[in-house]
Structures are given as structure tokens and as C-alpha cells.
Symmetry: C3
Subunit: 256 residues, 3 copies
């Protein structure tokens, strides 16, 4: 059984405190555009990122990690091979792993690879509406997300102007954020990485996915109040995430 | 026939409005140092970037794009192969594509590859003085730029303290910018990406090239007024580009 | 013979002036996460970075460079091959080269590769405590650093809350910096690049290593006074490094 949606802000506070206390290691196979920003988001939240996509090294890094992200952006042959090795190593160790099917709406090969990964039972998937439709063949709404989550046995984190977090049995909506966030490259990819970090310290995948998305949403919304555009917003999101406290989370969370 | 140079500020305003309204998709084969900053510059101007250099994927992404950038920085075997496939896909679809011959003055192989690409008729080339001399074998001045543009059938965007935009029949000079911009890595690469985005919404390659260079020049010059050094200048250029309006362009443009 | 530790602040000022005057070319084989920030740090200090890891190009770039960094982060087959070619080219030209054994504590293969590189006589190694222990098999303290430096014939730059710079015959400690710097990805990698740039303008490897580490430490400490978190700190470090002057160095340096 999941928590109630009304409990998610408090659960998110606890998860953030655990991230800062335990400093989980998060290995990220992610795209070339997202690597630096993703690493800085993870560090700001308390996690310790590693990023190699070398097939010679990746299993060794995953064996020393607490959670794994597989993001399909800039999916070259090396990343493809590394993803397979990394997922095998994660399964062997029993650590949570997450899929971000970046731009599957733009590439049939990438969509097929995402489907194959999902069949290997990741803990969660974080994606946007266009990617959801390409992958699931349905409009990106709560019913479709819940059905897909139930059928695939994963949690679905579907982000957009309004975020949805669905398991087969529960749905939460998150209405934090700011429209300017859509102008920052790799913000969705970094959100997936934070969702991954949350899985490392919280066994309920639905709560952990909601926590990661809520943390970015609140950080973005608070940061947007002082930012002058997408450049300073990206910088301020890192600062805000690092400073995020209980009172800011409770007073800003819009979870339903 | 091209527009008059005196019309370029107004044309640039129109091009920027089209970027924001149409959100053209720009696929970038660019170097590893430039990918993130380039994506953020394109998003700030209204375009939608994709960045894969995987030879398995690149043709599919170019087929869904409105313009293509081929930047020769960090030119490994993968990028070399991807560039060929991407240019073929762009030619097949008839979309504009641009070459940025990064650091051809430091590598004979890269210069030869650039020459081969130029023979395939890109819409424009954006480069600096040292790269121009390595490629053309002449001093980087207006006469040489116009001759080279005419002979190769491309527009040449030659940037430096004073920028030149030359076709075989017309030359514009742009004197916007700030010396501190030379201390930001990949600013020239991001300029080429913005020039590429402009080609997606403007069929006159000379006007589109001038518009992209002018937008970065004005954004940099305005941003430099409040920046404290090259770090904050890079952030402020993104913010300024996102906020750039008609009045700021008209009052700052130094086009001759 | 080395200088006295008390002379290091003045030597650092001279080295920074030389970087700005001579603009040495620094070729970096570095990890995908660090490339952009590293390039911006080098530019802010006065150096000119290049970053290709293509095995077809790297020797040509090193032949035109004044110093070489080999950083082992995200060590794929391409970077491994490029490192070998680059070190050969550096040895042939007699230019200084530096090793940063990133995350050798997380990968036995990477540690073995680092050992092989160190046997080829780099000018210096910059690493953290965990990496030192993995490589040397000893606690990261001054005695162990000096012994290792003497045996391997390199200078060791061991960074942490308190930095140590050891040759076989001399040790300096540097206590500049700020704890928030640990939350910025690739700051250690960028420090190694700056250490590399310093070798290009200073033949005493111990002084050059100390200068690079001291410059980053002072820039970070000064920048932290106005930063709001790790995002703005990274930006402010670039700004501060670019503006660093004699008085700021002399009044802040904590060298012993």
C-alpha cells in the first residue's frame, strides 16, 4: 500500500533528509547534454553522482552504487551496450533503477529500446507527454498512466505543466514549477536523476518518484521568483535545491 | 537579391519573432564542450534543439528537424560518420545546413573534412579569423570573405572583434559584442547554432546569418553591462537573449 | 631546489601574470562531465583550452599545445587510446603533462591505467584522499605523499579540506577554499587543468602545482562570500578567477 497523497510533502522532507544524511551513490547513464547539470543537481540534493558510459567500467561503478539511471538521450552504440551491462549489474545487486526515455517520440529505434528496458522491470519511468504517447499509444492522462503503470509493474512519473505520478493503484498530481523551466535544457533529465536518488533511500517507488518530482518543482518555482531568465533560473535551481528546508517544502507543495 | 544592410535590424526582429512563434527544430552535431550551452542558447531564442551524434539515430533526427548544424569540434570517428549521414538526410529533405569548422587551424585532417563538407553546399559557414585563414588561405577581410563566399556558393559569417557577413554579392559588418565574450567557451559554437536556427525561418541565407550573429552580439553587449566576469556573462547572455525585444535590438544594433 | 613555502603566494602571482600574458595552449583529455567547466576555468585564468579525445586528432593537438592534462574520468576505450597517443606526443615535444586519476577508488581497471601512466613520468598528479589511498595504499597524509612523490619522481597535489603539495623534498599546505566547493561537479578536475596550465609557464613542478591549487582555493573562498549555493558559487569562481589580483592573493593565501 502507498501513502496518502496528503502525506507526500512530509515524506518528501524525510527523503531529502535521508539523501543529505546517507549521500547515496547514483550512477547515471545519461546523455551528453545533461551530464554536468545532472551531476550538479544530484550533488545539491546530497547524492554522489558517477557518470561513466564506458562498457568496460560501467558494471564496476553500478556495483558500487545505490541506484541507477538509464536515460536514452544521445543513445549511441556505447551507451546502448553500457545500459545493458548496467541493468544486469543493478538487477544482480538488487538496487533500484529508473528509465528516462528521452525523445522516444523522435526515434523508432529508441522507442523499441525503451520498451525492451521496461520489460526488464525498472522501478520507475520519468517522461513527458509526447514521450508517453509515443511509448504507450495513448493520451498522457491519469487513467492511461495508471493503466500503463499497472500493466508494466512500474511507477510512471509523467511531467508537464501538471505532473502525474501513477502506480497501478494510486495517482498523485503535482502542480509546482514555472513555465520558464521548459527553457532549460536537461531539466527533465536531471529530474529523472533526482527521482533515481530518491529510490536509493525510499523503498516505496511511488513515494520516491513523487518526492523527486516535487523537489524539482518546488525548487524551480521558488527559484523563478528571483531569476531573470532561463540562464539564471538554472543556477538558482541548484542553489534553491541545496538550501531547501521543511518550511519551504510545506508552504509550497501543491500535491493532490 | 539581398536586403540592404540598413534593413538588417528590422529583419532580425522578424526572424526572432518567427523563432519564438514557430519553434523550429534544430539538430546539432556539435562538440562535447559546446552541447549544453548551445542547447540553452537555442531554447532561449525559441528553437528546439536535439544533439545526438549517434550514426544509428542521426538521420532519423535530421528528418524530423528544420535545420542542421555540423560543428567540427572534438571530431571523433563517430561525429565524422554522423556528419555524413546527417548532411545526406538534410539534402534529401531540402532543409538548410550550416558548417562551423571549429579549430581547423589546429588540424589538417579537420580542415580537409571541412573542405569536403563545403563542397556539398551548406547554406552558410560561421568561423573566426584563424579558421578562415586556415581554410581559405587568405587574410580574414571583407574582400577575401566575399570572394570565398561567391566561389563556394555559401554565406560566410566571419566573427571577431568586428563581424563580417558576406555572400558573393553583399557584405554586412556588425560591431556589437564585448571583449569578455572571448573568455566564454563555445560562444562561437552557440552562435553557429543560432545562425542555423535562423536559416530554418528565413530563406535568405545572408539575412539569416547576419540575424544570428547580431542577436548574439547584442545579447552579449547588453549582458556585459551587468556581468561580473565571464561566468556571470554566460548566464546573462542566456537571460538577455530570452528577453530580447524590438527596442533593445533597434537601439543597440551596430550594422553597416 | 624548490622555493620556500613563504614565497608561494608571490610565485603564484607571477605564474598568473604569465598565464595572462602568454596564453598557453592546454590540451585536456578529460571526462564528459568536466569539459565545459574546465574550459571556462582555463579561459578565465588566461589559458587557451582544446579538448578533443579523438585518437585521429589528439596527437596533432598536443603537438600544438604547451601542456597536457590526462584526466581518467568517464574512461572509455576512445579516451584510453587517446591518452596513450597524447602522452607519447607530449614526451616527444618535451611539454609537461599531468595526471588526474579521477575515481580510481571506484575502478580497479582505472587504477591500473593510472599506475601505468605514472610510470611514464608525468610532471604532477592531482587527486583527492580516497583516490590517493586507492593508488598508493596509504593514508592521505604529508609523509605518505612525500614518499610517493619521491619514489615516483612526480609532484603530488593532494586536495581536500586541507591541500598538500609534495615533491620528494618539499611539502606545502594550503588551507584556502570553502566546504561548498565539494558540491560543484568537476571542480577537482578543473583544478587539475589549472595546475596543468601553470606547468606550461613555470618549470618548477612543485611551485606550479601549488599555484594552480592556491588559485582555485582563493577564488572559491572569495566567491563563497557572495554565493547563494553551489550553482552561483560555480559561476562566481569563474568570475573571481578572471578578476584575481595581487592584493586578493596576498591577503587571502593561507600557505604553510
Amino acid at each position: 500500500m502507498h501513502a496518502l497523497t496528503s502525506e507526500l510533502p512530509h515524506i518528501t522532507i524525510e527523503i531529502l533528509e535521508r539523501l543529505r544524511r546517507r549521500s547515496p551513490r547514483v550512477h547515471c547513464i545519461t546523455n551528453a547534454v545533461a551530464q554536468t547539470f545532472t551531476a550538479n543537481v544530484l550533488l545539491a540534493a546530497g547524492a554522489v553522482p558517477t557518470m561513466t558510459v564506458s562498457s568496460e567500467e560501467v558494471a564496476e561503478f553500478v556495483k558500487g552504487a545505490d541506484a541507477l539511471l538509464v536515460n536514452l538521450g544521445t543513445l549511441d552504440a556505447g551507451r546502448r551496450e553500457a545500459a545493458g551491462l548496467a541493468v544486469d549489474a543493478a538487477a544482480e545487486r538488487g538496487i533500484p533503477w529508473i528509465v528516462d526515455p528521452t525523445f522516444v517520440d523522435r526515434s523508432a529505434n529508441r522507442a523499441a529500446f525503451a520498451q525492451a528496458l521496461i520489460a526488464m522491470h525498472p522501478r520507475a519511468i520519468r517522461l513527458n507527454g509526447a514521450e508517453f504517447t509515443a511509448l504507450v499509444g495513448a493520451e498522457p492522462n491519469a487513467d492511461a498512466a495508471r493503466r500503463f503503470a499497472g500493466a508494466a509493474g512500474v511507477v510512471v512519473g509523467l511531467t508537464g505543466a501538471r505532473d502525474l505520478v501513477a502506480s497501478g493503484t494510486a495517482t498523485a498530481t503535482i502542480e509546482n514549477g514555472d513555465p520558464l523551466m521548459a527553457k532549460i535544457t536537461a531539466l527533465g533529465c536531471a529530474t529523472s536523476a533526482l527521482v533515481t536518488a530518491c529510490q536509493a533511500v525510499e523503498t516505496d517507488a511511488w513515494s520516491a518518484t513523487a518526492a523527486g518530482i516535487l523537489l524539482i518543482g518546488i525548487a524551480g518555482e521558488v527559484a523563478a521568483k528571483t531569476a531573470h531568465g532561463p540562464g539564471s533560473l538554472a543556477v538558482a535551481i541548484i542553489d534553491t535545491l541545496h538550501a531547501l528546508d521543511r518550511a519551504t517544502i510545506l508552504s509550497n507543495a501543491k500535491v493532490g
